[in-house]
Subunit: 449 residues, 2 copies
């Protein structure tokens, strides 16, 4: 069945008519629910017939986005392998990364170039290594390795980024879930936890266009994080993965946490990360960490045991391609042009298929790679199963929570970047029908009970 | 002073005449030593006047060697970023590395491609991560993390590679020094230690053209390592850094330890490493680990917490450039042509300046990057200090021993690859004069005592 046939088909039209005519599923009588269920079942079978295989699991750039960085692959370096500082980038050395690469990141993460390390292709790996070294050796200002404290814990804002939580799990660090509010984490809870418990060693933050809620931390949240009372070996893992990744026609401003920490007399508190994975080519981008001099020295000391140094040819390629903040922003605007219609499509399809159903809501982010989907409690797992049956893959339910534990069973993440727009429309329709079906089932069970 | 002037100078000629006329320093009388000392002092001051700044600290390829891989920098990938297996190398994924990259390493480290991981730019980093995960989580076949055993230890063959020992230090692993013999480690000691102490968790091996002695492990040593009794969580870290790096006109054959471990019923015992750092460009090469299926799964499980995946564009570049074992060997022959004269020069200069002095001996390796220099006990530190005064930098004395502890104070490492041949001749002359001076001082003190 073609996309057009599917959309104009009796089944989907019937469903959408039904949804729109009867308004809110949860206001229906038992019989009304039964009728809705029938319409949904029919639409569901139409979905199954599409034989789809589409993933909205992870924030993966599309081939069209990769195409924006083709020049990176074409670029010859055989005549120009020496950087501006005079380093032959082909040989060993420069553990801290090329000066030009550090200068590229400086305005993006608000940290001076001399306080930046550029290393490897993965900011996640830099975070992992920081946790690993902190657990084994401790951090500047701390007297002991984190592993000496059997209660050592991280604050994990929920919903949040599963790979952060996985690092805590790997190192046996306890996770304290703190809810994300409109302008950042619930600071009353964060403050209280850090004040009371010296075992709280860190907090994971995606401060701008947060994964998955799209939240941008307010200036006062940033200031409070920098200035609040906390253990001397407490670290803010400031994962600024989407620092130049707006979806709206403007870019939100994030307060400068590095300066705020210095002003508050806590210069060692923040470790700020970013990478060019979602600017250029994922996997072959470059990653950076900005931090105080003490933290930088600490990192380099441990990194030099692990490896002789980073891939500077890769750094040189990235620097020559990305040039400066202005050219980075131009490139990011081209990404935005490709991504924005996909994010808009979520609301379009959901509103079309589901009508004004207030049991389901989703974020409309101003940037980043994700939409957080909030469903009727007790339906998220079922929605993922239904969508999978029809060939649309979500990340594992609960993955935005420590231990994959979404006690409400009500949150899912949509990553719309990879599929092309037609595939995405199909996937979103399947998801909408899955939501309708899971909701109707749940409500029927409640009505029956 | 030009090189030629320096060499034909009164001072150096005097010294060499003296050395050759008086034969062995250690056979001289007190007065004879005094005369020798005077000639040495004069030569030494001629050295100082050269105002040198030359490093023979580490095995760094020369610019001429880097030039052999210029095509790697020129190579455009914009039309051919999909590998033979159909992967778009520009995007996330392929945690185990590209099939073609694994196939490239397979014949070099004698491990089937499906049992190889290609990841990052540093085999040292892969070793570090293995130790890190073993310490924290344990290894397949082991019941506990290595950290549960406060006596956990590695066998460190001496003289050996300082970066291996530094990893043990970082993880608090004890180091058991075992002497290197002509055909590999002293297996009687290794066997005994592994049989008696289940706390012996690993051994560091550079089995071919060993760092720094140039030793190639004999077939029987390889067989014994594979088959000897050891703890189930014992691992051989087989750092095959110089697997295709002959200096002689032939390449020595190393027995296949992967097969030997399987045959001996210890398939999980070996972790085999290599990289293209010293084939192509150091720092921007690619690294590999070959191991049993259980070890590979173990590695991938932990690596996937640390990072989404490796830089596959870099892997694709390396594979397209290096092609296959045949082309790799052709490239390595070109490296050999550049390196061989530098290694030969060590004997030429030392024999010229020092004459037939049997208090000093050095290895004449058939491959690899190092010469091990063995001096009169109690002189190595002094030689490094003297050479440094004249602008020639060695690695820290004792660095080929765990804890930098060369109790004899008699071993140094020469890495002649980086300086050009004229610089190297000067550096080696300075070293020879430093050896002569330190030896004469030591012998004079003994004669005075």
């Amino acid at each position: 069945m073609s996309l057009k046939t599917f959309y104009s088909s009796h089944n989907v039209r019937d469903l959408t008519n039904h949804m729109n005519a009867h308004h809110l599923l949860q206001n229906l009588s038992r019989d009304g629910l039964h009728d809705a269920h029938t319409a949904i079942e029919e639409a569901w079978h139409a979905c199954l017939k599409q034989n789809l295989s589409i993933s909205i699991e992870r924030g993966i750039p599309s081939p069209a986005q990769l195409q924006l960085s083709q020049a990176l692959l074409a670029q010859p370096l055989d005549e120009s392998y020496v950087d501006d500082a005079g380093n032959d980038c082909r040989n060993y050395g420069a553990q801290q990364g090329l000066t030009a690469a550090r200068e590229l990141f400086a305005p993006l993460i608000d940290v001076p170039a001399e306080n930046i390390i550029v290393n490897g292709n993965s900011s996640l790996a830099m975070m992992y290594d920081c946790v690993s070294w902190a657990v084994r050796h401790g951090v500047p200002g701390g007297e002991n390795p984190w592993s000496d404290d059997s209660q050592a814990a991280f604050i994990c804002i929920v919903p949040g980024y599963d790979r952060h939580f996985a690092i805590c799990e790997a190192f046996g660090l306890r996770m304290i879930a703190v809810p994300m509010l409109e302008d950042g984490p619930d600071m009353q809870v964060v403050r209280e936890a850090c004040r009371k418990y010296p075992s709280v060693k860190g907090i994971w933050c995606v401060p701008k266009y947060s994964n998955p809620t799209g939240t941008v931390y307010s200036d006062s949240v940033v200031r409070e994080l920098a200035g609040m009372r906390a253990a001397p070996d407490f670290r803010i893992f400031w994962d600024n993965a989407y620092c130049v990744h707006p979806l709206a026609g403007y870019d939100r401003q994030l307060a400068d946490i590095y300066a705020a920490c210095q002003q508050a007399g806590n210069p060692d508190r923040v470790l700020a990360f970013a990478s060019t994975s979602k600017m250029t080519l994922p996997g072959s981008g470059i990653a950076a960490m900005g931090a105080s001099e003490a933290n930088i020295k600490w990192w380099l000391k441990h990194a030099s045991v692990r490896s002789v140094g980073p891939d500077k040819v890769s750094q040189l390629r990235q620097v020559r391609f990305l040039k400066n903040t202005g050219t980075v922003r131009t490139l990011m605007e081209a990404h935005r042009q490709l991504l924005k219609p996909k994010f808009d499509l979520v609301s379009t399809v959901f509103e079309y298929v589901l009508g004004a159903q207030d049991y389901v809501r989703w974020t409309r982010p101003e940037g980043g790679y994700f939409i957080s989907l909030h469903t009727l409690p007790g339906t998220a797992n079922r929605i993922v199963k239904l969508a999978a049956q029809a060939g649309v893959r979500f990340a594992r339910p609960g993955s935005c929570y420590p231990g994959h534990l979404d006690v409400q069973d009500a949150q899912l993440r949509i990553a719309p970047s990879y599929p092309d727009i037609d595939e995405l429309r199909l996937a979103l329709t399947v998801i909408a029908v899955s939501i309708a079906r899971a909701t109707a089932e749940k409500l029927s069970r409640s009505a029956d009970a």
